[in-house]
Amino acid sequence: MFSCWNRRPKPAVMSKAKTQQPAVIHKVIMVGSGGVGKSALTLQFMYDEFVEDYEPTKADSYRKKVVLDGEEVQIDILDTAGQEDYAAIRDNYFRSGEGFLCVFSITEQESFQATAEFREQILRVKNDDNIPFLLVGNKCDLEDKRQVTIDEAQTRAQQWAVPYVETSAKTRANVDKVFYDLMREIRSRKMEAIRQSNGKKIRKKESKKRKCTIL
């Protein structure tokens, strides 16, 4: 009856050839509560600009060619909305990511607390405890307004077994670092995945073979 609805579109036919762009794309997703500076970090990274005026993001995506350890790759940044109402929709954002920058503001305790929820949701969606993930404490230039101590943040990062980095979109401190670090993680994960899948295939073959002999 509803067969039409279920019909998934056929896999996109890749357009022929023409790839001057580097084939490798690393997909980074910015998550975190509203107003912690996800967009500011993204824009600083993309355009070396600091945007002072705040305007809530809905969901923006950016793409940039970068050189990662001598290799030319592309980074695809999805700057998500801090205030997305729909959990289901947030799931969809997260699904498309390969690595996450989980941002909070060191001047706002609540935003730090919220990171736990984000982490949880990401793990659930990706179903992978080792997903490339960085805990980012932004606005470190506002030391005098700090509410989240470094210790506090680092403890949490250790719990999750992820790196913790403090950044400032305003001063550009550590901005490049968080993105590049994450990309490196993503890259190594991809390598591992390829190795694993190869290994799996081999193992599968072997098991099959064994089965045959038993039968």
């Binding site: 969901a59 793409r63 729909y86 969809n92």
Partner: protein, 691 residues
């Protein structure tokens, strides 16, 4: 001749050898005389041949001309045909270019009303989806769904940003439908359904900077993520805003629903929509569950499952009876079903088709210029029957009668007015009245048990009759028709009207009331005219017998008068004289024909008027006679005047009396009194003679 025929046959033989033939002849025993005979025979034969050849040439020539005519007619028809075709082609192409829903209208439109009356608006709104997009019928069958925004987009590959294909996306109030563009496609179907995505789980990403690619945005919908490119920055902005807006609106609507009826809302979410539950990432499994949920006990029999398609087929094949059979069957079946959402949804699908079916049937009855009306009422009956079965008797009745109206109009228009009013009116009646009675019979057959519709028929008949009478009036009273023509026309029409009582429809009184004023006016006018005539002729009445100078002329005149019902043979004397004045003869003639005419259209309602008119005319004549008697100049003519008076008052009056009797009307007292005037005139003469 037979001989010639034989010779002709010999000569026209296939292997005829003239030399042999001539040689044989010459050898023959007959000698010269035989040869001469043969020569004349051949001569005759040659003449005959020449003659028939000529004839044949003529015949062929005529045939040639006829063929040429036919060809030219055919050519004309072909030309018309090709003209029609090109016209249709241009119409179609212009329709294809026309965008059915302008973007602006859509942006403003969606208000919360759609929850109240989802059926009408939505159907209309989504109907065009069906026309444009192949394979999306199930999308349009969800009640309450409507279109919010749509436009062409280019689908890009999310990795390489290369264009994959052209698509058209339709934003509905609860979901987003993507349809791929079909290249090289003619006709209204331009797209093929690709996918429908719930807004609940749809993530929209604004692609801010993607190198050379401008105006793009991403739609993330598990497990796909798609990238689309709009034509302009404005178009993209619009898409993003409207998507956002629609999502919000849906969210608030869902919230309301959930609060109102949590259970029901959940149920519907499962059955009516693609089941991407908020927290469930395993869409695939859920879908099959949803499908399973639909398979309730009531709906899983095969024929029910196939019913919508079967209905579509029947409608497409114009098998209306079959379609209605199916609808009745399913109605019967669903009557006992509980109102679970699945059944409701199924119901909605059926209803949608019933609506289509109804439209198809109504189309059958619709009068359009290109459809021939020759089918008659019997052709309409089929559609009417089915509509009644669908419970649309009111519409059926309305359309049926409209159909009939136009048939009558068409038939009347076919009549040509060729001078003679009487003939035209007779034909008009011949067309109209049978049409009316046919409709009546047909109506009673078609709407047998729907007495409510009967009144509609009566109202219709009244309206038609009014139209008819107005045509009649225009022709009869409008022109300068003579009284006798009018009388005959009306008499005719009246008789026809009475025939309608056969079908239980009495329109006579209506007819009478519609013509009454005009009729009265005409009678009065004619009366005045005759009285004027009397007065005019009185001025130069010399009271001399008519002298026709010759016997033949005299007989001719008598014959003329007898055609008007007057026998003047007894008044002839001296071969060429008639013992009456010219005035008397003329008066008698006009008076008799007037009386005859008015009596033809006589009804009790105008009885008084008729009587008065005739009486007035006679009084005028009597006055004239009396004046003449009293006139000293005519002293010597008294006897002749009295003879004329006697003719007028006794002979003519008795003829009028006979006419009254013929029409079955009582001869009125006023006229009897006038009959007595003759005696009074006699006494006047006597008293004058005495003095």
């Amino acid at each position: 001749m037979a001989d010639h025929g034989g010779l002709a046959r010999v000569l026209s033989k296939q292997d005829f050898n003239p030399e042999n033939f001539v040689g044989k002849l010459a050898e023959g025993p007959g000698g010269e005389s035989d040869l001469l005979v043969m020569k004349t025979k051949v001569q005759v034969l040659s003449d005959e041949t020449a003659h028939s050849l000529k004839k044949n040439v003529y015949k062929n020539y005529f045939q040639f001309i006829e063929t040429a005519k036919e060809i030219s007619i055919l050519e004309g028809e072909m030309y018309q045909l090709s003209h029609t075709l090109t016209e249709q082609k241009s119409l179609m192409s212009s329709m294809m270019e026309m965008s059915l829903v302008s973007d602006k209208a859509i942006v403003e439109e969606p208000k919360e009303q759609e929850q109240d009356n989802p059926e009408e608006e939505t159907r209309k709104n989504l109907a065009f989806l069906l026309e444009k997009v192949e394979g999306c019928s199930s999308v349009t069958e969800v009640p309450g769904r409507h279109l919010v925004h749509n436009s062409d987009l280019a689908e890009l590959d999310a990795e390489s940003f290369m264009q994959i294909q052209r698509v058209h996306s339709f934003l509905l109030n609860d979901s987003l439908m993507i349809a791929t563009w079909l290249p090289n496609r003619r006709g209204p179907v331009r797209y093929r359904f690709q996918g429908l995505y719930e807004l609940d789980s749809l993530a929209v990403v604004n692609v801010r900077d993607a190198g050379p690619v401008k105006n793009a945005f991403k739609i993330l919908m598990f497990p796909d993520s798609k990238m689309y490119q709009a034509d302009s920055a404005k178009a993209k902005r619009q898409w993003l805003d409207i998507l956002e807006e629609t999502k919000k609106r849906k969210a608030s609507r869902d919230k309301q629903k959930r609060e109102a009826a949590l259970f029901l809302a959940e149920q519907q979410l499962v059955t009516l929509t693609t089941p991407t539950e908020d927290s469930n990432p395993f869409g695939e499994e859920d879908e099959s569950e949803a499908l399973a949920a639909i398979e309730t006990d009531f709906l899983n029999s095969d024929w029910i499952q196939e019913l919508p398609e079967d209905l579509d087929m029947c409608i497409a094949q114009r098998d209306f009876e079959g379609a209605v059979d199916l609808v009745e069957r399913v109605n019967e079946y669903l009557k006992d079903c509980p109102k679970v959402p699945a059944v409701k949804e199924f119901r909605a699908r059926i209803d949608h088709r019933v609506k289509q079916l109804t439209e198809g049937l109504m189309g059958e009855l619709q009068v359009s210029p290109e459809r021939s009306l020759r089918g008659g009422p019997r052709a309409a009956r089929r559609a009417v029957m089915q509509l009644i079965r669908l419970g649309k008797s009111a519409q059926a009745c309305d359309l049926f009668l409209k159909n009939r109206s136009s048939i009558i109009k068409y038939n009347i228009r076919q009549l040509k007015f060729e001078g003679a009013t009487t003939l035209y009116i007779r034909r008009l009646c011949d067309v109209f009245i049978p049409c009316l009675s046919e409709t009546g019979k047909e109506f009673m057959k078609a709407f047998q048990d729907h007495y409510g519709c009967m009144s509609a028929f009566v109202v219709w008949a009244k309206k038609e009759l009014q139209m008819f009478v107005s045509t009649v009036n225009r022709q009869v009273f409008g022109g300068k028709s003579s009284m006798s023509v009018i009388a005959e026309c009306l008499h005719n029409a009246r008789q026809q009207c009475e025939e309608l009582s056969q079908i239980g429809l009495d329109v006579s009184f209506l007819f009478e009331s519609l013509i009454a004023t005009d009729l009265e006016r005409v009678i009065r006018e004619n009366k005045d005219q005759i009285i004027e005539g009397v007065k005019y002729r009185a001025q130069d009445d010399k009271w001399r017998p008519m002298n026709h100078l010759s016997h033949t002329d005299c007989l001719k005149f008598v014959e003329e008068m007898s055609a008007g019902g007057l026998d003047l043979k007894n008044y002839i004397y001296d071969a060429c004289f008639i013992n009456l004045t010219m005035n008397t003869a003329n008066f008698s003639k006009s008076c008799l024909s007037f009386a005859h005419d008015v009596l033809l259209v006589h009804t009790p309602e105008i009885d008084h008027l008729v009587t008065e008119a005739i009486a007035d005319i006679f009084r005028a004549e009597v006055t004239h006679i009396e004046d003449s008697i009293r006139n000293k100049n005519f002293n010597r003519e008294h006897k002749f005047i009295l003879k004329n008076a006697q003719f007028v008052l006794e002979v003519i009056m008795s003829k009028i009396e006979a006419a009254y009797k013929e029409q079955g009307v009582v001869f009125p007292k006023q006229l009897l009194d006038i009959n007595g005037e003759y005696r009074r005139l006699k006494s006047v003469v006597k008293s004058l003679g005495a003095s």
